[in-house]
Amino acid sequence: MKARVEVHIQLKPGMLDPQGETLEHALTAIGYEGVRSMRVGKWITFEIEGDESDAVESQVEEMCDRLLANPIIERYEYHVMREES
């Protein structure tokens, strides 16, 4: 099967996110009221080919744990979207 993968990575809740805070201040400064809890993360997309969707899913999870995210400070979620070929 062929699949398209999206991985979203963010700092864990409670971890200071100075980028998010700075953006929040900037938005307030240019007139947007009521913006709260802004967090900045990463959005990674790629294509992958594999035998079956379970195997692809566990492979993607392993990629996240080993390289794409640092589980000490970040949390991630991923979506594997099967593409017919």
Partner: protein, 232 residues
């Protein structure tokens, strides 16, 4: 007199390698050896330094990609066998990513790249790398980083403190917790930590840039002396 080979690892983007080379070469008997990241043996090195810089452009996270370089497999094996390993700045980041040291280095709390002379307190002289110093001594190494905010879960922080594994702490010039003493927001002002076994040290400040009084400080010499003595 036998020479003591000390390996200095170079990744694409490492930029403090020559400073570290000179710092190691300044220690009696030490013989610095270059180790390119694609190499698969340490060429007989008895100690290893991961120098500062921006390995792999700091892509994804600082140190995240470098840790999978071929040479790192050997460095991990060497460290697990008890060999002395020193990681400075980006080298510290790589050591945490490789799991040789606990925690992670996050973006500085003030978001800016911080580059300045930094006072540090030596929290323990009872390590291979800090035997040249005294406990409580205030020394000065330059810092130069954007991701130096050391973080770990509370249980790990307690453990590091209980086991005296916080080797250096950021302080002000008088050794206190003055305003702005901490350049990056690291928890408990942690600047450097050592592993459980005591053979792997990582720190954000640069002892390699504190080798000559004429350039501001020669306080860094002790670390390299300690490393070479441990390796001999």
């Amino acid at each position: 007199m036998t020479q003591v080979p000390i390996g200095i690892v170079r990744f694409p983007g490492t930029n403090c390698d020559q400073d570290v080379f000179d710092a190691v070469a300044a220690v009696e008997r030490a013989c610095p050896v270059w180790l390119w990241h694609k190499e698969t043996d340490l060429q007989g090195a008895k100690g290893v330094v991961l120098a500062g810089g921006f390995s792999y452009g700091d892509y994804l996270r600082a140190g995240a990609i470098a840790r999978f370089s071929p040479i790192m497999e050997e460095v991990v094996r060497f460290a697990v066998d008890g060999g002395p390993v020193l990681g400075i700045c980006n080298g510290f980041q790589i050591l945490t990513e490789a799991g040789l040291l606990p925690g992670a280095l996050m973006r500085n709390d003030r978001l800016t790249f911080v580059c300045r002379p930094q006072s540090l307190k030596v929290e323990t002289a009872d390590t291979l790398f800090t035997r040249q110093y005294e406990r409580g001594q205030v020394i000065s190494f330059p810092v130069a980083h954007a991701e130096g905010n050391f973080a770990a879960d509370p249980a790990m922080i307690d453990r590091l403190e209980d086991e005296c594994r916080v080797v250096f702490r950021y302080v002000d010039d008088r050794g206190g917790k003055g305003l702005d003493a901490n350049p990056n927001g690291s928890i408990n002002d942690i600047a450097g930590v050592i592993n459980e076994r005591g053979n792997v040290l990582g720190l954000m400040p640069h002892p390699d840039r504190a080798m000559d009084r004429m350039l501001g400080s020669a306080d860094g010499r002790g670390i390299f002396q300690g490393l070479v003595e441990a390796a001999a």
